[in-house]
Amino acid sequence: MARIIVVTSGKGGVGKTTTAAAFSMGLAKRGYRTAVIDFDVGLRNLDLIMGCERRVVYDFVNVLNGEANLNQALIRDKRSDNLYVLPASQTRDKEALTRDGVQGVLDELAKSFDYIVCDSPAGIERGATMAMYFADDAVVVTNPEVSSVRDSDRMLGILASKSRRAENNEEPIREYLLLTRYSPERVEKGEMLSVKDVQDILSLDLIGVIPESMAVLNASNSGVPVILDEESEAGQAYMDMVGRYLGEALPHRFLEVPKKGLFRRLFGG
């Protein structure tokens, strides 16, 4: 049986899609058959970040409406045979998502995949609630600033009360905190909440801290999930996150301001 993971946050622009792309690629790289679904119907982005935007024929809504079957809509990633992308529709709106329809798609995917990653849209409306309703695990993506933390907290409340697991009184969704765009320099200057501050407020298991990095922007622009950029700190941090999700005990990295030597000062790091 596949495990369904929702990548969510409440707030927009915190790195949900970047995370969904990197995380699903990481799981696929580890040999797990993984599908990643874009729930942001009307504002699809995942195909861009995954670099498959020019191969989209059918989308999630076509499948929900029975206009295409799942195999026609799933796009196999060129870099990993284990990874498939189900893009969102750009021409519909989120009303196209029905609970029965989504369940049907997830059930069918569950037959042949190990992990199903759901990339949630921002907000707490239909798209977001659909993305998280069937989840087993949730990665709550949060930036170290107060409004993002509060929105994540709100999302955690919804996860705890309005998901399938909550409604059926099953074991609650496993929730993980992923801090993104973390800048130790700015934390040191007091301009940003620290890991500890955020954990104090959200009291949640920390699955990773992704440092603010140019590599993320470059990766998005070139359609390569940042986890494939093994040189970059962000890529390494995502690899650690995948390892922790799979149960490995890895220390958190990139939390301190790196001590730059003269060489690195001159040539950047």
């Binding site: 409340g157 919804i158 009291s203």
Partner: protein, 251 residues
């Protein structure tokens, strides 16, 4: 406990509880448009300003369809016009809950006499003046009626312990709301709102390990975080009502 009339124990006849019938003006709402209502009321009041000055008024919502009504705004509007809104009749459960939180009486629709009057009669022979605050309703039963919460209470969540205490063993985030007819205990940081004794039990208290609440309230007497002493943050405190004033003290 908190309110003890000095001569309460000495004389049996310190007070007498009787059911009395009053004729009260009732404001029956047909629309939730408060702007319109405000205009209409103002003209009405100008016709007989003396009659309306400090006049107690009951708001009747039973003819108002299930629409969103900004109840606190309505009460503010009436008070602003010099009226004294004292109770509510009809309306949705949500309206009644808001009314309760604003210390307004919930009046019945007619045949079913107000529960308050009946229970007050029954309670009348009790000599303890301490019953005073709870006289309108039977004191909430502690123990089994309470609620125990072990997971964090997140922003946007509301928990209500009906008829008892609410015990939370986890953090309460800002934007979350705790309500109880009885006491509230929080054994994690309290950053949200906590309203104890929401049905008017002035003996209810709030206990918490780390008070950073947005708002605390006992029986409708509230204080917002701006008016909380920052020196109390991070220390175990209790919040109680004494002579109509909220007392916040370190434990």
């Amino acid at each position: 406990m908190s309110v003890t009339a000095p001569q309460g124990q000495a004389e049996q006849a310190a007070f007498e509880l009787r059911a009395t019938t009053f004729t009260l003006p009732t404001l029956r709402l047909f629309s939730a448009d408060l702007g319109e209502l405000s205009c209409f009321l103002e003209t009405k009041i100008q016709q007989a300003p003396e009659f309306f000055r400090n006049a107690p008024v009951v708001v009747d919502l039973s003819h108002l369809p299930e629409v969103a009504l900004d109840f606190p705004l309505l009460v503010g509007l009436l008070r602003g016009l010099g009226l004294l809104p004292i109770g509510v009749r009809g309306g949705s459960e949500q309206h009644r809950e808001t009314a309760r939180l604003m210390d307004l009486a919930i009046l019945s629709q007619g045949s079913r006499g107000p529960a308050a009057a009946v229970s007050a009669k029954a309670a009348a022979p009790a000599p303890a003046a301490a019953q005073h605050g709870a006289a309108e309703r039977p004191a909430p039963a502690a123990g089994p009626a309470g609620k125990l919460v072990t997971r964090p209470v997140r922003s946007g969540q509301r928990l209500y312990a009906q008829g008892g205490d609410l015990v939370v063993l986890a953090p309460v985030s800002s934007g979350a709301e705790l309500m109880a007819d009885g006491n509230i205990h929080v054994y994690g940081p309290l950053r949200g709102r906590a309203l104890a004794g929401v049905k008017g039990n002035g003996d209810a208290r709030i206990f918490c390990q780390d008070l950073r609440a947005e708002l605390i309230s006992v029986a409708g007497h509230y204080r917002v975080s701006e008016n909380l002493d920052p020196a109390l943050a991070g220390r175990p405190v209790q919040v109680r009502l004494q002579d109509g004033r909220l007392i916040i003290e370190a434990l």
